[in-house]
C-alpha cells in the first residue's frame, strides 16, 4: 500500500481532492437565485457567418426570447406566424401526453422501460421544426419530440416500445431506441455520445458529395464528458462540417448533477469555443429561443460557415427513466423552483398573450392528445405487449447480424428453433 508523504515532514501543503456536490439534496429548500438568467431579448444576434471569436459572449449568456410578460423580445425572435406556433404547441402537448401514457404503460407491465422528456420538450421539437425534414438527426434517447414533429406514426413508436410483433425493429432494441431512415432519424444507440462523431461524419459525407443537407446530434450534458463528444468537436472544427452539436443541459445525469461533467467551471457551450466552433447558450424552456438558435445554426451550416454547438439550458423535471427515483438524490422542490419555468406553459401563455389561443382550446387540445394516444395504444396492444409471448420468429434473432448468415449463425439458428420446439412443442407457431 502506498504511504502518503506526511505534510509534517515538509513545508509542502497537503493536497485536497474536490468532489463536486450539488447545492440541494432531498429535503433541502431549493433556491436557484444564483443562476443568472438575464433578460429576454438582451442577447445580440450575430451574423450567421460570424467568426466564433466575435460572438464568444453568447457561450456564457443565455439567449432568451419569451419574457415574463409572455411576449417575444429582441433580435432572436424568430417571428413565427401563429399557425406555426400552434403547431409547435400541439407537438409539445402530444409529446407530454404520449410520455404520460407510456410511463403508465410501463408501470402496468406492458413494457420494460420508458424515458420521459418532461420539461425538455422544446429542445427537440423546436430544433426539429427549424431543420429541413430531410436534414439528418442523430438523437440521444430523450428526443422523441423529433419524431412527433416529423410526423412519425405514434403507432410505430408504441409498437417499438412494446417490442411487439409489429415492431419494425423486430423486438431487438430497448424501448424508445427508435430508428427511421424514412424520417432521417438515426438509430438510437444507448451507448452515450457515440452519435456525435457519427453526425459529424454524416455531415462530412454530405459536404464531400456537395449535398445541401446538414446533420444535427443531441447529447446530454453528462455525456459531454465522453471522448466521443470531444472527437466530434475536433472533427467538426477541422473539416468545417455542416453540423449542429446540441447539448441538452438538463442539470442531471441520472443522480449525478452537471458538476460531474464540469459545469462548476464553465458552461457547456464554452466547450465549443476551445475548438473554434460557434457556440450558443439558450434558454431550453423557451421554444422560440430554441427555434431561433437552431435556425441560426442551420443557416450557418448550410452557408458553409461550419458547425455550431448549442447548449440548451433546461431542467429534467422527472426521473431519468422508469428505473429511476430522483427523490433519492435531489430536492423535490427543484422542479417548481426552476427559474425558467415550463416550456409548454410558456409557449401557451405567449399564444394567449398574442390573442391567438385560450385556455379552453388548450384544454381541448390536451384532451384530444390524450385520447389519440389512448386509442393508438389500444391499437398497438392488438400486436402484443412485451412479455406476452415471444413475438418474433426465432430466426429473426440471427438476421441482420451480417447481410447474409454465415454457417455458424445458421447452426445457432437451428439450435434456437430446436429449443423452442423442445419447450413449446410444435403446437405454437415458430420461426
Amino acid at each position: 500500500m502506498a504511504e502518503p508523504a506526511k505534510p509534517a515532514d515538509s513545508n509542502r501543503p497537503a493536497l485536497a481532492l474536490h468532489v463536486p456536490e450539488p447545492r440541494y439534496r432531498p429535503g433541502d429548500v431549493a433556491d436557484f437565485s444564483h443562476i443568472d438568467i438575464g433578460e429576454a431579448g438582451a442577447s445580440p444576434r450575430p451574423d450567421e457567418g460570424a467568426h466564433p471569436s466575435e460572438m464568444s459572449e453568447l457561450a456564457y449568456g443565455l439567449i432568451r426570447v419569451l419574457g415574463d410578460d409572455n411576449q417575444a423580445h429582441g433580435p432572436w425572435n424568430p417571428r413565427l406566424d401563429p399557425e406555426t406556433l400552434r403547431t409547435m404547441l400541439g407537438h409539445m402537448a402530444m409529446v407530454r401526453a404520449f410520455d404520460e401514457r407510456m410511463f403508465r404503460g410501463q408501470r402496468q407491465g406492458k413494457t420494460s422501460f420508458y424515458m420521459k422528456c418532461t420539461g425538455e420538450e422544446a429542445t427537440s421539437i423546436a430544433p426539429a421544426m427549424a431543420l429541413a425534414s430531410d436534414d439528418m438527426v442523430f438523437p440521444s434517447y430523450r428526443q422523441q419530440g423529433i419524431l412527433i414533429a416529423r410526423g412519425y406514426p405514434l403507432l410505430e413508436m408504441i409498437n417499438q416500445i412494446y417490442s411487439n410483433k409489429a415492431d419494425k425493429l423486430k423486438g431487438r432494441q430497448l424501448p424508445i431506441m427508435y430508428s427511421s431512415r424514412e424520417h432521417s432519424f438515426f438509430s438510437i444507440s444507448g451507448n452515450l455520445a457515440t452519435q456525435c462523431p457519427q453526425a459529424v461524419g454524416w455531415a462530412m459525407a454530405s459536404a464531400i458529395k456537395g449535398d445541401s443537407r446538414i446533420a444535427a446530434s443531441w447529447v446530454g450534458e453528462g455525456s459531454t464528458a465522453e471522448g466521443d463528444f470531444h472527437a466530434a468537436c475536433t472533427f467538426a472544427a477541422v473539416y468545417n462540417a455542416p453540423v449542429i452539436l446540441n447539448v441538452i443541459n438538463n442539470q442531471w445525469a441520472i443522480s449525478s448533477f452537471s458538476g460531474f461533467a464540469g459545469s462548476e467551471r464553465t458552461t457547456f457551450a464554452a466547450r465549443g469555443l476551445g475548438h473554434g466552433i460557434a457556440a450558443l447558450r439558450v434558454d431550453g424552456n423557451d421554444a422560440l429561443a430554441c427555434f431561433a438558435a437552431a435556425q441560426w445554426a442551420a443557416n450557418r451550416a448550410r452557408g458553409n460557415h461550419g458547425p455550431t454547438l448549442i447548449e440548451y439550458f433546461t431542467y429534467r423535471a422527472e426521473g431519468h427513466s422508469t428505473s429511476d427515483d430522483p427523490s433519492g438524490y435531489r430536492s423535490a422542490q427543484e422542479r417548481e423552483e426552476w427559474p425558467l419555468g415550463d416550456p409548454v406553459t410558456r409557449l401557451k401563455n405567449h399564444l394567449i398573450a398574442l390573442g391567438e389561443w385560450d385556455e379552453e382550446r388548450q384544454a381541448a387540445m390536451d384532451l384530444d392528445c390524450a385520447e389519440r394516444v389512448k386509442a393508438t395504444t389500444k391499437e398497438a396492444e392488438k400486436n402484443g405487449i412485451l412479455g406476452h409471448g415471444l413475438h418474433h420468429p426465432f430466426h429473426t434473432m440471427f438476421e441482420d447480424v451480417y447481410e447474409e448468415l454465415p454457417w455458424h449463425l445458421e447452426e445457432q439458428a437451428d439450435q434456437a428453433i430446436r429449443e423452442r420446439i423442445t419447450k413449446f412443442g410444435t403446437e405454437r407457431p415458430f420461426g
Binding site: M136, F138, K168, L169, K170, R172, Q173, M177, S179, S180, R181, F186, S187, S189, N191, T194, C196, P197, Q198, A199, V200, G201, W202, A203, M204, A205, S206, I208, K209, A215, G227, D228, A231, A232, T234, F235, V238, D400, V401, Y402, E403, P406, W407, H408
Partner: protein, 351 residues
Amino acid sequence: MSEDMAPVAETVTAERRLNMIEAINEALDIMLERDPNVVIMGEDVGYFGGVFRATAGLQAKHGKNRVFDTPISECGIIGAAVGMGAYGLRPVPEIQFADYIYPGLDQLISEAARLRYRSAGDYIAPLTVRSPFGGGIFGGQTHSQSPEALFTHVAGLKTVIPATPHDAKGLLIAAIEDNDPVIFFEPKRIYNGPFSGFYDKPVEPWKKHEGSVVPEGYYKIPLGKARMVQEGEALTVLAYGTMVHVAEAVCKAKGVDAEILDLRTLVPLDIKAIEASVEKTGRCLIVHEATRTSGFGAELSALVTERCFYHLEAPVERVTGFDTPYPHSLEWAYFPGPVRIGEAIDKLLKD
C-alpha cells in the same frame, strides 16, 4: 474442397510481381476509381501517403475529398466513418497501427458492428478498417500487437488477414465491397517480403514468391474462403498472415509433409476446408502470433475438437506468442518461431 479453393476468375496478363504494400495501394486505387462512394481517411494517409506508403499517390490522383488526413483520434475516425456509412459512403479508414485501435473500439463494437441489427436494416456500416498488425519489426509493445481475437469475438464484424500480395489485393477489394464492417489486418512484417521465421537468415523479397504475382485490374477473393498453401498427409496447419510463411518454412526445413491452410478470413471462417483437411490428416497444429489465452487459436482448437474429434490421432496443438506484452529487445524470444513450431510438430507426430 477443391471447389471452394478454386481461384476466382481473373484476367491473367503478363506476370507482374508486387509487394504487399503495392498490392494494397493498387486495390485502393481501383476501388476509388470504380466506386465514387469510397473514401479513404486516416492519420497521415493523405498528402504523405501513409507511414507505410499504402496510400501513396492516392490523394494526388483522386483528390482531397476522397483521400484525406484525420485528427489523431481513432474514436473520431471510426465514429465519423460510421456516420459516412449511414449517409451512403463506403469509408476505408486506416488505423495507423492495430495497437492504436482501442480508442475506436466502442464505435466498432457498439456501433458499426450492431448498426444493421439494431436498426433492422435501416442503416448499415459498410466500413473496411485497414490496420497494420503483428510484430517482428522491433516495434516494441505498442507497434507489434495482434488483437484479432478481440474482433472475432464481436458479432457483426468480419476479420480478414491476407498472407500474400495477391490475396491482399483481392481480399481488400472484397472487403471494401462487403456491406458489413470488416477489420482488415495487414501483417506488416511481410509488407516487403514473406518472412520465414528464421530471423537470423537473409530477408527474401516478395519477387521470389509466387504469391507476389498480382494481376492488373479488378478482382476479388471471396471472404470466408481459405487458401490451400500446400497439400500434405502428415498434419494440418491452420495459420494466417505472417505465420503462414513461418509454418511453411519450418515444415520444409523439417521435411514434414504438412497440409497448410491459410485461413485468410477468421470470421466468417472456412470451416469446411478445416474439417476436410483435419479429417484427412488426423492431426492439427494451430499457429498464431497473438498471445495464447483466449486467442483465436482457442476457438480453432475448440472447433476442430468439437467437429473432428473422432478423426484426431493426437491432441490439437497451439503455437502462439506468449501471454506477455510484446517485448522490444526480446522480440525473437516472444515470437512463435521455428523452435516452438518445431517442437509442436514433433509432439503431434510422436505417436
